[in-house]
């Protein structure tokens, strides 16, 4: 695969790659949670869910 040689012209750093996996996974869950809560609250349009969104999304950000 020739194009890989241009893909890798930066040195990403081993530590940088590991932290991405860690932070990305946690942040991915948070993002997914926010999206899910938003989808549910959009459907129900209830205040309860909107407060729930705040309490769920905040600590995970």
């Amino acid at each position: 695969m020739e194009h890989l040689s241009t893909f890798a012209y930066l040195d990403p750093g081993t530590g940088s790659m590991i932290i991405q996996a860690l932070v990305g996974a946690v942040a991915g869950v948070a993002l997914f949670g926010r999206k899910a809560v938003r989808a549910v609250s959009a459907k129900l349009g209830s205040k309860k869910v909107r407060t729930l969104e705040k309490s769920v999304a905040k600590p995970k950000k």
């Binding site: 020739e2 930066l10 530590g15 940088s16």
Partner: protein, 463 residues
């Protein structure tokens, strides 16, 4: 500038930027063929260009190109009126450039591509709008592969913003020294103790990042930690979202700078102000050739720069105070596309830096402008910074073909303020010496007294 490859364009084997007859072109190398094709075929290029997030280009056939077995094609990107550098941007400009990078990354992922790098130098401002200029930054995304530009993003955007957030915006000029971004290790040393608890993402993207980076330094054998390096698409999207919310949480510090509220508290006579504006407009209109490029030195929040922009000139509004530059940048009106606010200390102007001192151009190399406005700045240079008139005149001759300059005499209250706390060692600070110094480089075209003040406005044209 000379024809040939630009001295700043050597890092990426995918291609390079070159100049021919003063027009900027980008060569795409064969090695980047798959990526370049995918950029167009996936619809990513049109998605980005239609939103003005990426500079648009046309493929061209040029005659007289040297033989190059690596060349796939040549593109001609839309011209950027004035090239600026991250160390000349105010806080919100750097933040917007970072947010643009992340937005593009999100759109790229949707099209099966990824930004392989995230250098702040890949962003330019066209007026007040940031745009990505590196068409070759896109690579085909392979799920599981981490973002190679992640550390670069932290060091070019998140870290300088965090340091400025916790200290002052002046910290952003550090980027002139750290052209590859502010290193993680330096950030950890500079940020205050509580920083990691006080701002979103600082703990993860700076402190943990630095720790892991330090731990794994030199242990980079290919197989060592390969399994942990997988970053799923799910995580990649999370990572980008997390960086986005960290950047959005970074705000400019609230400390007061010298000029932040200049026009608010000044007792500047309204009549004099209006008369000055009228004269500047008159002078600009009187030029035989309509100016295309105007530099306003000491532009503050751009009040007078707007006069030039309204005449259709691309106007770079320089000021030493990052808060004034930010205020100008955040102000929106019909001159937005022609107004570029930038930070600059004319007494220590941006130098040529980088490889062979030739990678990023000095302020002088990016001139001269058709017109330089130097309004209410002479006393700050000659008394505030001890720069004698002949030296001011010689700098002006380097950066402008025509100069509209205001002379502020010693009896003016602003000059008296500067002299209040120091001995007056400036016996030659008067109109006569000022005019004599200017006369060595310029021809006097106009001279008018500004009403309701003791100030004078001059129009000079270079000899």
């Amino acid at each position: 500038m000379k024809d040939g490859p630009l001295t700043s364009s050597y890092r990426d084997p995918a291609g390079f930027v070159f100049l021919q007859d003063n027009i900027v072109y980008r060569q795409i190398n064969k090695v980047a063929e798959a990526d370049y094709k995918m950029l167009h075929d996936s619809g990513l290029y049109s998605a980005l260009v239609s939103e003005e997030l990426l500079v648009s280009h046309k493929e061209v056939t040029l005659k007289n190109l040297p033989v190059d077995k690596n060349r796939l094609t040549v593109i001609k990107p839309d011209a950027i009126p004035f090239i600026s550098y991250p160390y000349e941007w105010s806080f919100p400009q750097l933040r917007d450039a970072g947010l643009l990078t992340l937005k593009i990354q999100q759109i790229a992922l949707k099209h099966g591509m990824i930004l392989k790098d995230s250098s702040a130098f890949n962003i330019q401002f066209v007026g007040k709008k940031p745009v990505l200029i590196d068409t070759l930054s896109f690579a085909i995304y392979e799920e599981g592969k981490p973002w190679e530009g992640y550390r670069q993003f932290c060091e070019h955007f998140l870290i300088p913003l965090a340091i400025a957030h916790f200290s002052t915006e002046q910290a952003l000029t550090m980027l002139q020294t750290y052209l590859e971004g502010i290193p993680l290790s330096l950030a950890v040393g500079l940020l205050p103790k509580g920083a990691k608890w006080h701002k979103k993402g600082v703990m993860a993207h700076i402190y943990l990042h630095e720790r892991l980076q330090r731990k794994h330094q030199g242990s980079g054998t290919k197989s060592a930690s390969a399994p942990t390096r997988k970053v799923s698409r799910f995580s990649m999207e999370g990572l980008i979202a997390s960086l986005e919310s960290s950047l959005k949480a970074m705000t400019a510090p609230k400390n007061q700078t010298e000029w932040g509220e200049y026009y608010d508290f000044t007792n500047y006579d309204q009549k004099a102000f209006k008369d000055k504006a009228k004269l500047v407009e008159e002078y600009l209109n009187s030029l035989k050739q309509k100016p295309k490029m105007v530099w306003d030195l000491g532009a503050n929040n751009g009040e007078f720069s707007e006069l030039a922009a309204k005449l259709g000139a691309y106007t770079v509004a320089w000021d030493i105070d990052p808060k004034a530059v930010a205020a100008n940048y955040l102000k929106h009106d019909d001159t937005d596309s022609l107004m570029l606010p930038l930070v600059q200390d004319i007494a220590a102007p941006s130098p040529s830096v980088g490889w062979e001192l030739d990678e990023r151009s000095s302020l002088f190399d990016r001139g001269p402008a058709d017109v330089v406005l130097a309004l209410a700045i002479i006393h700050h240079l000659s008394i505030g910074r001890n720069v004698p008139f002949p030296k001011v005149a010689s700098t002006l001759a380097k950066i402008g073909k025509n100069i509209i300059i205001e002379f502020v005499p010693k009896e003016d209250s602003k000059v008296q303020q500067l002299l209040a706390s120091r001995t007056d060692i400036f016996p030659e600070y008067d109109e006569e010496h000022f005019e004599a110094a200017m006369a060595t480089h310029f021809k006097l075209v106009k001279k008018t007294a500004i009403k309701n003040s003791k100030r004078k406005l001059y129009l000079y044209t270079v000899r």
